[in-house]
């Protein structure tokens, strides 16, 4: 299946942007996002192929505009919803609660 993720040979993305002495994670939430995906995998809630396929199903414009670990988070959320572990509604409710208690920053 081709799609936005299938980038081999695509023209027009420009030069490769590199960072010297790059940290493993640029923000604490990135490590958390990776860890939560691995919790889903290790817990047998979804497998690696399902997870990868979920990230590949992120809408093309969103896929290109969000960062790498945001794709991990969205893939994890999609899989946990699909498997009935954490529903999208349940997640949204919690997000709204946290958003309110943190001053509505979202």
């Amino acid at each position: 299946m081709n799609g936005i993720h299938d980038m081999g040979g695509v023209h027009g993305y420009g030069p490769i942007d590199r960072e010297e002495d790059e940290p493993v994670f640029h923000h604490a939430w990135e490590g958390k996002a990776l860890a939560l995906a691995r919790v889903g995998l290790a817990g047998g809630h979804f497998n690696l192929d399902e997870f990868r396929h979920a990230m590949e199903r992120i809408a093309p414009v969103q896929y290109l505009s969000i960062s790498y670990y945001e794709r991990w988070l969205e893939g994890t959320l999609m899989m946990l919803d699909a498997k009935g572990v954490v529903s999208a509604e349940e997640f949204q409710t919690r997000l709204d609660e946290l958003s309110k208690s943190s001053g509505g920053g979202a």
Partner: protein
Amino acid sequence: MTSDNNVELRVRALESLLLEKGLVEAPAIDEIIDLFENRLGPQNGGKVVVRAWTDPAFKARLLANATEAIVEMGYDAVQGEDMVVVENTPEIHNVVVCTLCSCFPWATLGLPPVWYKSAPYRARAASDPRGVLVEFGTEISDEAQVRVWDSNAELRYMVLPERPAGTGAMNEDELLALVTRDSMIGVTRAQNP
């Protein structure tokens, strides 16, 4: 959905739900982060390369069955993936990419850098590897062959860079300092002493 503030909150929301459901405990999350942040990384791959440079029997095992040779050094596969190590020589220069996403030899190199996961590298490593190598400051002669290895979930590639000339008298720690992460991806050579 794109601001760091919002994504930080989204991660926190999911974390709190998984903790609440008893699907994970907080120390396990910290343990995973510590593994990727501190214990996995190119320092492991560097030791594999130096051993291959200094121990011909190990090098033969590494090129014949990298998965087993790497486990022999104590670096287990993280996702049950198989490893293949390809050797750079004056005649053949190997480069690793993952055009579909970010597959990378976690056991030996840890998590990939941002550029490896970026659209420009994924797109162009496949179609114009010599151009990409020039961008990394790596000149390859016209006579040498460039081979591009596209990683996938089950099979991860690592490059065994050429041992630089003039390093015959160096000890293992000195050699280790010459082996960079990028040289094990194949976008650069090992550093000269």
